[in-house]
């Protein structure tokens, strides 16, 4: 009985902290972008402009939620929920601390990979159901990009899995007690980070929604809270990738003095700021470059990394 209550509490905690983070990220991103462009950003509403979060939320809830008459209505409505649901589901396997974890399943890493592949359906369906050529182009790009980057995202994680000998996230974190995997798997870390950025389609891999070419890409036709869902989904995606980078490569909740949850959040915050820094500094890639980069450079590199890791493990055992 008490275990049911604790897991319910954990689920509520995770959901609550995630949705709060996602909405706070809107503010954080605007403030940080402003900081790096020598501006102030939203600083009027409430202390440090934090009230902006509330204002934005109220605004987006009251905007007209318009479905274009030419759209495929059921799919159009369902598509944005996918991205949020899959991103939230992935958090089920992320260990926040030794005890705060929704479910420590044995195939945690695989579960995350499966969920992130499902996430592409959201984008593809949104683009398809919009019945708009820009949206479709965006969806097409998203699918191709996801296919390409999904492959070596999985491969880059296999090094970590091979060292730990388990797919369970908690086991992976525990294996990093003495040395973080970023030291043992630097290439895997870099590849996973790049794939993760592509997975959340953030700059410099934001081709599916490239404003300058495709209006807004796959969500051109969306408005109101449906657009808000894509927005929230993107921010939860950023948090997810940051959380996974922390869990898989940066020692998870390990850290001296402070409680584990706090360490986890500090590290995640660091990576989120990194994501925003990327957006502040890098231009968007060209589509063919993106594909060539994925298939011709990252894939062989991750395979090499995996082979080298395997060889070293065999050698030392």
């Amino acid at each position: 009985m008490s275990s049911v209550v604790t897991s319910l509490l954990v689920i509520v905690f995770v959901l609550f902290s995630l949705l709060t983070t996602a909405s706070l990220l809107i503010w954080l991103e605007r403030r940080l972008l402003a900081l790096w462009q020598d501006r102030y950003g939203p600083n009027r509403v409430g202390p440090f402009g934090l009230g902006q979060v509330l204002a934005d939320m109220i605004k987006i809830f009251f905007k007209e939620d318009w479905t274009p008459p030419f759209a495929d209505r059921p799919v159009f409505v369902i598509a944005p929920t996918f991205i949020v649901i899959t991103a939230l589901m992935s958090f089920a396997v992320v260990p926040f601390s030794p005890s705060i974890l929704v479910s420590d399943i044995d195939i945690g890493v695989l579960f995350f990979l499966a969920m992130s592949s499902l996430g592409v359906y959201s984008v593809a369906l949104a683009g398809w159901a919009s019945n708009n050529k820009y949206a479709l182009l965006g969806a097409l790009r998203a699918s191709a990009q996801m296919l390409a980057y999904e492959v070596f995202m999985g491969l880059s994680l296999m090094g970590v899995v091979a060292i730990t000998g388990s797919f369970s996230m908690q086991a992976i974190v525990k294996a990093q007690e003495n040395i973080w995997f970023i030291v043992l798997q630097p290439i895997g870390f870099v590849i996973f980070m790049i794939a993760g950025i592509a997975e959340t389609h953030r700059i410099p891999f934001d081709l599916p929604e490239a404003e300058s070419e495709l209006v807004a890409g796959f969500h051109s036709e969306y408005s109101g809270m449906k657009f808000g869902m894509f927005f929230v989904g993107e921010y939860i995606g950023i948090t997810l990738i940051s959380a996974l980078l922390v869990t898989l490569f940066m020692g998870g909740w390990h850290g001296p003095f402070l409680p584990p949850v706090l360490w986890f959040f500090i590290k995640v915050f660091f990576f989120i700021c990194g994501f925003i820094l990327l957006r502040a500094s890098l231009p968007r890639m060209r589509y063919d470059q993106l594909m060539a980069f994925g298939w011709k450079l990252m894939l062989p590199l991750s395979l090499l990394n995996l082979m080298a890791t395997g060889a070293v493990i065999l050698w030392s055992s």
């Binding site: 020598d38 820094l277 500094s281 890098l282």
Partner: protein, 183 residues
Amino acid sequence: MLRKMFDVLEGLYSHLRSMGLVLKHTFAKRVTVQYPEEKPPLAPRWRGRIVLTRDPDGEERCVGCYLCAVACPVDCISLQAAEREEDGRRYPEFFRINFSRCIFCGYCEEACPTYAIQLTPDFEMCEYNRQNLVYEKQDLLISGVGKYPGYNFYNVAGLATKGKPKGQHENEDAPVDVRSLLP
């Protein structure tokens, strides 16, 4: 192959470098002027809200010549000239500037022969209602001389005014007696 690898590394370096440069801006001074608290410095000849001034004797300078209305490129000045009963001095019966159209070009000020119409360094004239941007004469007329303290058009215009016949004004000679033969 080597060349390719070199290219990749160079690209990596350039990306990291630009990220570092952007990160350095964390400590740069912000350029935003926090407007309502921090007022931007305005030049003395800033072209802002328009006023109608008075001459040093406290009379309205405007003589209702319509030159400003003609000069205005967006036709936002509207006025009606009238003559005063006692001395025939001209003045505008009404004078209306529609600031929602005014582009603050300053042509009216240039055209005015009496320095009556002047632009001032004030741009804070927002309104919730567009109609409130139409300023009438009582909104425009100030009780000072504006940018030209000593100037009085009637003193130099060569016209007879009340109490001062022709030739009695500043820097003015007595009028030539056209009936006399001597210069």
